[in-house]
Subunit: 207 residues, 2 copies
DNA sequence: AGGAAACTTGAAACCTGGTTCATGTTTCAA
DNA sequence: TTGAAACATGAACCAGGTTTCAAGTTTCCT
């Protein structure tokens, strides 16, 4: 889960040294594994530092508390999801194609990084503000794409926020079922095709 | 949140007396409030017993642990959601109408019982087995309705589990955004109408 | 009425794990 | 080279909450 620069957590704890940056990164990576495997409460700081190969006390050089590192992690990961999606949307395509591609990318990402899924979900309880922000910005990005599609005359002109949230919910639950829980019973492309088809035509009989 | 008989948690702790059943119910109701307000970890047993108006020690007459009462609660609530949905589906209607009615009911229920929403969501981390079961059975019920609609020639014949999960995800996220977070910026009927329309026709321009 | 089982009580034992801190080591700019 | 700031270390501290328990009280069946 290395996204490069750790998301700006501007406490008074920013490392000022190369060594410091390395340790911070090690802690963040270790925390991703620890929180992903055990969940916020069963996770322990000593578990994190043990995985990171640092001393317990070092933790507090970089973070004020267990909550603080969790928050840094959520923001880091929210960013990583965003980046993965942006990459999938690189080449131009029709609006519907783009939604399908975005979902395929999301499903692949979720299968590859199940811990991200879990940690962002758990943020609903541990760090509600970041959770809300994650889904609000994600929803806003989807809505932008829908509006763009409408502008090009490919999508209906009356699409609004609720449509974006509907699509987002669809994606998240398909991710949970087929990427996180599923053992590949349905491949990402297949799931994305079904959802794309639903978006294209609805579920009613063809008219 | 009184669903009648507390869901069968067949430990060796079933009450054998009327008084016992009353206390058990009080604890369950108090726990719903406590967990809903503070989340699993910030919630405390003494907070629950205080709200219930019983002694701390009495808790252990009925439940083995904090996890145990949480699990009982999740199952109780999963049942309550199911019941609320069933009631909304009482009178017959077209398949698409039924989905819209189910969503309306769900949104109303979620707005009315935000704590249910939160507790079931938190079960993903506190009691994963119950969480999974809740969504698997809910998904299965949706799929049943879709198949019934297909049988009647109202819905496409190729609908499968993934469609049901897509719809479920849509519903859950719309519930989160508009029932739990929203302050009535969009009323339940309006949200359900948008989602119903999406299911009926998709988001592409009309052909 | 009588007594056994069910239930209640709340003080205190007990644990767990987050956080602090005093001491030592490494980095890096001058 | 040098010294001040940054960083590392882990034992010990400590708060808070779960769980236990021994001593009552209430229920309910016969």
């Amino acid at each position: 889960m290395d996204t490069g620069t750790p998301a700006a957590a501007d406490t008074n704890k920013q490392p000022r040294t190369e060594r410091g940056r390395r340790t911070l990164r090690k802690l963040l990576d270790a925390a991703a594994v620890e929180f992903g495997e055990r969940g916020f409460h069963d996770a322990s700081i000593s578990g994190i530092t043990a995985r990171a190969g640092t001393a317990l006390g070092s933790f507090y050089t970089y973070f004020d508390s267990k909550e603080a590192i969790f928050q840094a992690l959520v923001r880091d990961m929210s960013e990583a999801v965003k980046v993965a999606a942006r990459e999938a949307l690189a080449e131009p395509a029709s609006a519907l194609e783009r939604e399908r591609a975005a979902l395929t990318a999301f499903l692949r990402f979720a299968a590859e990084h199940k811990e991200v899924y879990r940690i962002i979900d758990e943020a609903e309880f541990v760090d509600p503000e970041s959770y809300r922000q994650h889904y609000e910005t994600t929803g806003a990005r989807i809505l932008d794409r829908l509006r763009e599609g409408a502008r090009k005359g490919e999508l209906r002109a009356d699409l609004e926020e609720a449509h974006a949230w509907a699509i987002m919910g669809m994606n998240v639950f398909l991710g949970l079922r087929y990427a996180v829980w599923g053992e590949g019973d349905l491949p990402a492309e297949r799931v994305a095709a079904i959802a794309g088809d639903l978006l294209a035509k609805g579920i009613a009989v063809d008219r």
